[in-house]
Amino acid sequence: MKTIRTSLTALLLSLAALSASAQDADSTRVAQPMPCCDLRPAFLQGWELSAGAGFQIGGTAPLPLPREIRDIKRYNPLLCLSLGLQAKKDLIDDGRWAVSLGLRFEQKGMKTKARVKGYHMEMTADDGGYMEGDWTGMVETHVRNSYLTLPLLAHLRLSGRWSVQVGPYVSLLLDGVFDGEAYDGYLRHHDPTGEKAYVTHATYDFSDDLRRWAWGVQVGAAYRASRHLEAEAQLDWGLSGIFPSHFTSVTFSLYPIYGRIGLNYVF
């Protein structure tokens, strides 16, 4: 938790610093795309900087849904925020293609309640305990992962206001929670022929097993509402499962797939 707070503070501070310098820049700007007396440091000359915030909504889910999942009784997207910075540079003079590098603090989380049938799982506990079996019953899953994400995007301007983006991203897990409950069901030891045990309530916590690095592809669109304001809708498609491949408690890989709606301030 501490790491999150530290990184959040750092991010907010840098945002504040940027907006301060942007205001300085504004006062001297003229109505030109590239002001003559840009106050930005030399290495940022020619780059368009923006800072933004948004909400993320989505799921950390197996794709396609395995047949063991019979019913999703409840889905709660949780409140997931994102705060980011982006530096964009035109590639060619016509202003159509651009590339950008971003830095984003984001949360990806959800809470689901599902009914499963014959869901196979294997678990090895820290103390050496080993359990394997097929679970039939209810499963509640709670995911809340905080990432520091680095997207590298190609931008294509479609019109004066609209543009689309696509590109890969890498994420570093700052803090992760993956826990939940299994209840009102039964476990068959080892396989469907094994001993059966009814379970009214069991808890699990795989937070410590989450993969530290993640990557995926981001695709989205942005609408430039005014000179400084841009609205965007993005889809982050995780291509790495949230658990390492040797982790077998959850038999299918879970991919974070989240949409984001946000506002950016363009300096």
């Binding site: 396609p64 999703i72 019109s159 689309v164 080892h190």
Partner: protein, 389 residues
């Protein structure tokens, strides 16, 4: 030009969202994989002549055991079962081939017969050994004979009967529940074991230990497992959901009015109490209970009423057993509960059941006990009053 690109871009974006949507649809349910005999048909049980069966059939994961009265004719019986919905039942013949089950055909149960259940999806099957046996009254047990469960994980005690045969359905323990925790690598890592070593009194003895159930035990709020051994049945299905109902104490193997429970024991309590106060010291328990049953509808005693049920006739218990490190003899008299008397008439009609219970932690059923508590028992004997002759 710009407009076209713009449209293309939006189409691409919506496609991505649609893809995410479609992939997350619930798919068709797979056919069933389970293949259980879930119960013996109650209708069939009703149709049996009274005085044929003794007590309730014991349905385990791969066996079904019927206890019958002495001398019962089991050469032509056609038991009926309830199985997993969608699964199919077969007879397995002596040569190993499977033929479709029908309710009419009788089989000779002088020796156990095999039935096979095949799952709805056809990929899984399980063979059940179905037997009819006369449970002979139990006099004594030296814990010399044991077998393993089907998967070879833990020991199960065999009772040597008066005719010299071995019966696997007299004693039971909570080992089947402990198997789920994955804490045990070998049969000797289980709470209830039968071993012979340099500390033996006389061959093998029963060693009951209170053990940690590890991470998985804490997941279900059951941090310890006491070593236990009792006359009756452990229903592993209930081990996690309702552990006090998993221990079904008692069998109708009563020869006469019991006078005392005799045997040898030693005990060491573990240091740290789980689920109790630090000041407490763990204690073992050894007791026997004689209680009344309705032979037509046998209801056993459970973990929550084994010492308090109104049907109890007499109890023999060790009380404060201390912690003797050397083998110590005990002879516990059966004390009749006020208002109860023993009736030889009731005895002849099969109206009594007896259980003997041993545990390395007295409060183990409520998950209070100290990891490491070890109770060793040997040469157990029930002394009868010999009034029934």
């Amino acid at each position: 030009m710009g407009n076209k690109l713009y449209r293309k871009g939006l189409v691409l974006l919506s496609l991505a969202f649609v893809l995410a949507g479609t992939l997350s649809c619930i798919r068709d349910e797979a056919l069933g994989k389970e293949c259980d005999i879930t119960a013996v048909s109650p209708e069939w049980l009703q149709s049996l002549p009274s005085g044929f069966l003794v007590g309730n059939p014991i349905v385990r994961n791969r066996t079904v055991t019927f206890m019958v009265t002495e001398g019962a004719d089991v050469t032509a019986v056609a038991p009926q079962f309830e199985i997993t919905p969608g699964a199919t039942l077969f007879f397995v013949e002596a040569d190993g081939t499977a033929t479709p089950y029908n309710t009419e055909r009788t089989r000779d149960f002088t020796l156990p017969q095999t039935y096979r259940v095949v799952s709805e999806d056809g990929a899984w099957s399980k063979d059940y050994e179905v037997s009819f046996a006369y449970p002979q009254p139990t006099d004594e047990c030296g814990f010399e004979d044991f077998t393993y469960n089907d998967e070879g994980q833990y020991q199960r005690l065999l009772q040597r009967q008066t005719d010299g045969s071995l019966n696997a359905n007299i004693w039971d323990s909570g080992n089947a529940g402990y198997a789920f925790t994955g804490q045990a690598a070998t049969p000797l890592d289980f709470p209830t074991t039968f071993i012979e070593d340099e500390t033996s009194l006389d061959g093998r003895y029963a060693r009951l230990r209170t053990l940690s159930t590890g991470v998985f035990g804490t997941f279900v709020g059951m941090p310890i497992a006491a070593g236990n051994l009792f006359l009756g049945e452990f229903q592993v299905q209930n081990a996690v959901m309702d552990p006090l109902r998993a221990t079904r104490f008692g069998l109708q193997i009563v020869k006469d009015e019991p006078q005392s429970l005799e045997g040898w024991y030693r005990y060491t309590a573990g240091d740290v109490m789980t689920g109790g106060s630090d000041a407490e010291r763990d204690a073992c328990d050894i007791y026997a209970v004689l209680y009344e049953v309705d032979p037509a509808d046998v209801v056993p005693l459970f973990g929550d009423d084994v010492k308090t049920n109104a049907r109890i006739v007499s109890i023999a218990e060790i009380g404060d057993a201390g912690e003797p490190t050397e083998w110590t003899h005990f002879d516990l008299p059966f004390r009749t509960v006020e208002g109860k008397t023993f009736s030889t008439e009731r005895l002849r009609s099969g109206g009594y059941a007896l259980t003997i219970v041993m545990s390395s932690s007295r409060e183990g059923a409520f998950f209070r006990g100290a990891v490491g508590s070890t109770l060793c028992v040997d040469n157990l004997k029930i002394n009868w009053k010999n009034t029934a002759q």
